[in-house]
Symmetry: C2
Subunit: 310 residues, 2 copies
């Protein structure tokens, strides 16, 4: 029998677990205010609660083909600090989509924080898609803080797609991502981030291309509104014959500030690494064009920002 | 009567003062092994020796139109540490070319080092072209070290072109460049750097666009051979309506390593900053094409490297 969810949890889940939405079916684990409210395993995907610390171990066997794992986190208690360690063991040849995400509803005056520390052990030839949405809401004055740490270990010929988005409402975030790549491994990262008001966001990413013919494509798009600040520090290290392309584009609005500090580090003759970054304001011509359709300036900006982030 | 120069000094001058070559004419100052060997002023450009520390003050008046100042430095004594402070006062409206450069001939076993600390005070509407070549030679085992510090203060509507090249033979260099730009100021930087053997090069550059409509274009090209290492950290900070474009391209050969850490920092809604960087090996197709002309691999590489750096 499925667990009964309160209104706030359901509302937050609609934001962070998009697509078909969160259901208590298949492989899943719903963490709410620091405890696992409900979870389920399947033939190929086993979810086990950790014994020594908060979090789960997720075992995905090699016969997994196209299955999804949903592991949303909801924090609705003001003043809560929730630290969770999730480890994913993806067997050789598995093909899986992991849908994570964290939403904080803070209606109090104390800071609510969630730190998700995730490690992915990706077997040979496995194909993993990892989606992660971060979101904050609530009428309280307490800050909504998310500090995710993501470590990805990729074996030969594996593929990992990291699709991460901070939608809105997160007052402070420091993201740490580290990827180690074996021969022939392929990494795709799409990072989207929107900050507003006095929010602060920092994203540090290090990609170590250690194996021959590994390749990485990193796309980061961000919009900074209000007096928010963002700092990006993606780092691509080529230690073998490899290929990487990093692209960071940001739109600044109002009084916002964006710093982008990409680092490309070639330690091998056949490491080919390219980086592009641009920061600028909204395209004025686009704005004018949309306003001729009768949109207000705000509406037009909204359309452009949404198009830019999608 | 011109000062008599020794063979080594003449030979080094041919490398670092290119174009028409160094002559003891017009406005000039030749510094050799820590002392000013000879110098001259003109109607519009006065060179004065500093009283309180090593170095010169160069006063360029507003009627200077297209004149050149040559201030080469030669260090040929092994084991010497030569620190020099040169200040340039460029009056409103002046148009001047400053040709600097330092060559170290080290035939001993002790490290020879030259640190040129240069400050440019560029008046309104002035146009300055600053050329600087760094070079090392000599059969000695002692290191040839160059640590230039360049500070540029640009007033309204001034223009500054910084053309800097490290040709070869410099074992270790740490370059620090800082530019502060007033309204309408325009900065052009071309940095070329070649390292070989066990050489190390680091270049840190910060450009502060403080005035409205200031703009900066920075092009950095480097070739790293042998087991040399290079680190680039250009930084463009937009504090007003401004425009900047940074482009860093590097070729790695052999066992060399290159790190490029550009930083773009937009602190104003109308700061538009673009950065591009690429590190890779020599274009193989080009190499093959040149070899069909009968060139050896080395010769073909030489041609490509030279074309890339020019």
């Amino acid at each position: 029998m499925p667990a009964l969810l309160d209104k706030i949890t359901e509302q937050v889940l609609r934001q962070i677990d998009s697509g078909s939405g969160f259901k208590q079916e298949g492989a899943f684990n719903l963490r709410q205010n620091g405890i696992s409210l409900c979870h389920g395993s399947t033939e190929h995907i086993k979810i086990k609660k950790k014994e020594d610390k908060p979090g789960i171990d997720v075992y995905i066997d090699g016969d997994t083909k196209g299955e999804q794992v949903h592991i949303p986190v909801v924090v609705s208690a003001s003043g809560m600090v929730d630290i969770v360690y999730n480890d994913f063991y993806i067997a050789d040849g598995a093909d899986v989509t992991i849908v994570a995400g964290c939403g904080i509803h803070n209606s109090g005056c104390d800071e609510s924080r969630h730190d998700g520390i995730h490690a992915f052990h990706v077997g040979k030839g496995a194909n993993v898609r990892y989606e992660e949405k971060h979101y904050g809401e609530g009428e309280g004055t307490g800050a909504r803080v998310l500090n995710p740490v993501t470590k990805i270990y990729m074996e030969e010929d594996s593929m990992f797609t990291l699709d991460t988005a901070q939608i809105k409402g997160v007052d402070s975030t420091v993201r740490e991502t580290e990827v180690t790549m074996g021969a022939g491994a392929k990494l795709y990262v799409v990072e989207k981030l929107m900050t507003h008001d006095n929010q602060k966001a920092e994203s540090n990413m290090a990609v170590y291309m250690k194996g021959e013919d590994s390749s990485a494509q990193i796309i980061s798009r961000s919009v900074a509104k209000g007096s928010s600040t963002q700092v990006f520090h993606p780092r691509a290290v080529g230690e073998a014959k490899c290929h990487a392309h990093i692209q960071c584009d940001s739109i600044i609005m109002d009084e916002a500030q964006v710093r982008s500090i990409p680092e490309i580090d070639a330690r091998h003759l056949d490491a080919a690494i390219i980086h592009e970054a641009a920061i600028g304001r909204i395209n004025n011509e686009q704005l004018i064009k949309l306003r001729t359709f009768g949109m207000t300036e705000e509406e037009a900006e909204g359309v452009i920002v949404e198009a830019f982030l999608n």
